[in-house]
């Protein structure tokens, strides 16, 4: 069962992702700040990491920077989840070494497909 780590401080957004992905066979982990997110990523080595760019302790870009410097983390797809305008979000995601970005609010119909596509990239 693929493991997905969601690093997101907003409880409503966390719940939404959980509900949208509930019908699928995923193990969902959650961290509400960057430090916990990095620790969980190191412990669990998830198959996909969804990172909110605005976190209360360190921002998402810094989390991605740190994860990308750890050899074990380099093959794991990291996806930025952000309310930034799509072009800015894409630029930020690319420059920080994310595998892509998903804009908020998430499109609940498209989201499972987006997640599956990133997971496929992991197994490819």
């Amino acid at each position: 069962m693929p493991t997905i780590l969601q690093i997101e401080d907003n409880y409503a957004n966390k719940l939404l992702v959980e509900r949208v992905l509930e019908p699928y066979q995923y193990r969902l982990l959650h961290a509400s700040d960057g430090e916990t997110g990095v620790s969980l990523a190191l412990e669990e080595k998830p198959d996909l990491i969804l990172v909110d760019m605005g976190l209360p302790d360190v921002d998402g870009q810094t989390v991605v920077t740190l994860l990308r410097q750890i050899p074990d983390m380099q093959a794991i797809p990291i996806v930025a989840v952000t309310a930034w305008p799509p072009d800015k979000a894409m630029e930020m995601a690319e420059r920080y070494g994310c595998d892509g970005c998903i804009t908020k609010p998430i499109d609940i119909r498209a989201f499972p497909g987006q997640v599956a596509a990133y997971l496929e990239k992991r197994s490819a």
Partner: protein, 280 residues
């Protein structure tokens, strides 16, 4: 709806309310309690002069706004309205309350910034008589070990300076800095570093910054002699050569020449802010 000084609330309550005001913003910038307290300290926010709009019946914070206080000037910051406090006049009540506090303190000028593209906030402040002063850039640079050797080859001498020297350099800037980068801010932080750079062609400049474990912050570049873009590029190249693994963020600076130097070493605009002011 009641206006209450923010110091009547715990830091945890204010942080929680602040985060809720920003949850649907383009650039939410949430904070934990430690970051909130640091923000208050570093930017001289006076919580006794800062305001919370409170619904006593529902026991809910509807909005909050903070006032930074420095000699002869105030600064409205992190003003926001919670989703259930919107369209009730909460924002106007906050601005009115903060301006009243500034007048009570006899501050002749109030400054603030709005994020470029946040039209409702900008309109609110224009309505209260604030005027746009200039655009500011918030720029970032992901870690990149590759430094342009040509920029480094132009350098004749680099002098590393400590915190005390950095503070002295910052006191000699040509342009008026934004509140975030004013001298008072740097008196409130620790462990600044500075690099003084001289080029073979006579160009000179310096950079001050704070090197954290993961991030370079509080970056200020000043070109004292020579082409702004060229000197800024060389100065920043030296800094990044010494801190290859850190992410970097430079906040609230302006100036086309210096910005070009930033871009040459890999910075890109994260978002923009509009600085506004009002004389009381």
């Amino acid at each position: 709806m009641e206006l209450i000084p923010a110091d009547q609330f715990k830091a945890e309550e204010l942080t929680e309310a602040y985060n809720q005001t920003r949850m649907d913003y383009l650039v939410p910038m949430p904070m934990n309690v430690a970051r909130f307290q640091e923000y208050v300290r570093v930017y001289n926010v006076d919580l006794g002069c800062s305001c919370v709009v409170y619904d006593r019946e529902a026991e809910l914070i509807l909005g909050l706004g903070m006032l930074g206080v420095r000699p002869d000037r105030g600064w409205i910051t992190r003003l926001g309205v919670l989703p259930y406090g919107r369209r009730l006049g909460t924002g106007s009540a906050l601005v009115t309350g903060l301006m009243a506090q500034a007048e009570k303190k006899k501050l002749p000028t109030i400054w603030l910034e709005v994020i470029k593209g946040n039209t409702p906030a900008q309109q609110l402040f224009l309505k209260f008589g604030f005027q746009e002063v200039r655009e500011l850039i918030v720029a970032r640079r992901p870690p990149n070990p590759e430094i342009n050797q040509a920029a480094l080859d132009k350098i004749k001498r680099v002098t590393s300076l400590n915190h005390e020297d950095a503070v002295i350099l910052l006191a000699h800037r040509k342009e008026r800095p934004n509140w975030l980068n004013e001298d008072e801010t740097f008196h409130n932080v620790r462990n600044l570093s500075a690099l003084l750079v001289e080029l073979h062609n006579g160009g000179r400049g310096w950079v001050t910054y704070h090197a954290g474990l993961l991030q370079l912050t509080r970056i200020v570049v000043e070109v004292t002699v020579g082409d702004e873009a060229e000197v800024a590029e060389s100065v920043l190249s030296v800094m990044h050569q010494r801190h290859k693994r850190q992410d970097a963020i430079a906040e609230n600076f302006c100036g086309a020449g210096v910005w070009e130097g930033f871009q040459r070493v890999g910075y890109f605009e994260s978002f923009g802010r509009i600085e506004m002011k009002k004389e009381l």
